[in-house]
């Protein structure tokens, strides 16, 4: 039995993605010297969806696109019970003097983004880095990090859990966002 409450349905989800893409076009125009970097793992499907929508449906010719794994840069290594499993990094370009749009599914404590910024520096010094997130959990930040582009703001308690489901991977076969009263009930 499903215990999570749907806070963004499939139709609403598509609208959010569409809106975020248009916000990006407004800001970056033709995306010259700009690259999209999805943070593994949650940011990877989001960045892929946005990248494809920009290229396939919104007439953008070319954007550098990569996926960044931050496992070895995380600050909670040796502070969690289990070792952290790495994902693949696919970055076939350097970010020196480029505008970077980092993407992640949920912005929560901000520590993931902090680690991603460290990892990003290993690919050069970007001209500027922005952050796009699908969900911004506003009230649980551990570090002073804010998103430039936000899909939806969710005010949730610390014990609650926000889960982004992608049609491609989810049992439901739908894109949606759910709120669970307790993380233990998710997995």
């Amino acid at each position: 039995m499903e215990k999570g409450r749907i806070i963004v349905s499939q139709a609403h989800f598509a609208l959010i993605i569409d809106r975020l893409c248009h916000q990006l076009i407004e800001e970056y125009d033709d995306f010259a010297d700009t690259c999209i970097v999805g943070i593994q793992r949650g940011g990877a499907p989001l960045s892929e969806r946005i990248y494809r929508h920009l290229i396939d449906n919104l007439g953008i010719d070319h954007i550098d696109y990569g996926k960044l794994d931050i496992t070895f840069y995380r600050d909670d290594f040796r502070r969690t019970e289990k070792p952290l499993e790495a994902s693949v990094t696919e970055m076939d370009f350097i970010v020196e003097n480029k505008k970077v749009i980092l993407m992640d599914d949920v912005l929560y404590t901000g520590r993931t983004i902090q680690s991603a910024l460290t990892a990003l520096n290993h690919y050069g010094r970007p001209d500027r880095a922005d952050l796009l997130v699908l969900v911004d959990r506003r009230f649980n930040r551990h570090v002073p990090i804010q998103a430039t582009f936000t899909g939806i703001r969710v005010d949730a308690l610390e014990r609650e859990y926000v889960k982004v489901e992608w049609a491609k991977y989810a049992e439901s076969g739908e894109d949606r966002i759910l709120l669970f009263p307790d993380k233990k009930e998710v997995y």
Partner: protein, 313 residues
């Protein structure tokens, strides 16, 4: 959203014998990720930035020591090096005292090479730090076996059912013993080949085959790990001359060409060119000797990373 994975089943890496096949696969999976890191413009990650690692080498080493040190530095650990030739050991200090002194300077992990088999085992009973065996006498050399198996897997895919032959001085080789354990845990078939005097008497009890014919063994195997004759450990003469040894057990181009199938050629180094292997074989396209060295850093990073993950207070 990293979900984490299973832990290693052991706090120390004393030998392959103590590892499960899941441990070995976890190390390989992590090593692949670190291999990616090593191919980036900046080859350093901050994972072990709050750790200090002591490299205690009571026996000479070039490759292993540099490989460990690089692995540690690529993971941002602080490193202290110690070698027996320049230490107080000469003044009569015991192993335990030496190590305890170093540990009281707040060292979190110890990488140790020692001429006495079981030295790491002994140490692990007396100190809290994670210990990694970098070779203990003629006993085990686990990271070498891991990088050997990792390198074969890169060439041949999953090791299940693959045939790997180990040639040369099996009697004195810690690499051979660790390799046998590691390859068998991954499902490979292992055969050893060398002069009868250099094959331990009851080695078949480990489940390996023994053959004294170089050609027949080469024809059988998919990968050949050719070991060095360890003259420094040989207290008596095990064969009449190096010249005779190379005639019977030296791998050369003509021999390999006449077999008519590709064999992955490996050597843990240092190579005695012209003795166990000729230069044209060591430098040939089928040789992965330099890949072994490259993989060594990634595999050692994986071992350090996974043990560090367990070592939290």
């Amino acid at each position: 959203m990293n979900t984490g994975t299973q832990n290693l089943s052991t706090k120390h890496l004393l030998g392959i014998k103590d590892l499960t096949s899941e441990d070995i696969r976890l190390i390989f999976q992590t090593a692949s990720s670190f291999k990616d890191v090593l191919n980036r413009p900046i080859k350093k990650v901050p994972s072990l930035r709050d750790l200090t690692i002591a490299n205690l080498f009571f026996e000479n080493s070039t490759r292993t020591r540099i490989s460990f040190e690089l692995a540690e530095k690529r993971l941002s650990a602080d490193v202290v090096n110690f070698s027996a030739s320049s230490s107080s050991l000469k003044k009569g200090e015991t192993l335990l005292d030496t190590v305890n002194n170093i540990l009281s300077m707040k060292v979190d992990m110890v990488v140790m090479r020692h001429p006495a088999p079981g030295a790491c085992q002994f140490l692990s009973k007396h100190i809290d730090a994670n210990i990694i065996n970098a070779g203990d006498g003629t006993h085990e050399h686990p990271t070498q076996a891991l990088l050997d198996a990792f390198s074969i897997q890169e060439q041949l895919g999953d090791l299940e059912g693959k045939k790997v032959a180990i040639f040369g001085d099996i009697l004195h080789s810690r690499v051979a013993l660790s390799n046998i354990f590691c390859l068998q845990k991954l499902g490979a078939k292992v055969r050893v080949c060398g002069p009868p005097t250099l094959i331990p008497k009851h080695i078949t009890k480990l489940g390996v085959e023994v053959d004294y014919d170089l050609r027949r063994t080469l024809e059988w195997c998919d990968a050949a790990n050719i070991l060095r004759i360890q003259l420094e450990r040989q207290d008596i003469k095990y064969f009449p001359s190096l010249r005779e040894y190379s005639q019977y057990f030296g791998v050369n181009r003509e021999l390999l060409d006449s077999i008519g199938k590709p064999i992955v050629i490996m050597h843990p180094g240092p190579i005695n060119r012209g003795v166990e292997i000729t230069s044209d074989v060591a430098d040939s396209a089928h040789s992965i000797i330099l890949q072994q060295v490259e993989n060594g850093v990634a595999v050692r990073m994986a071992v350090l990373y996974l043990l560090a993950a367990l070592g939290k207070a």
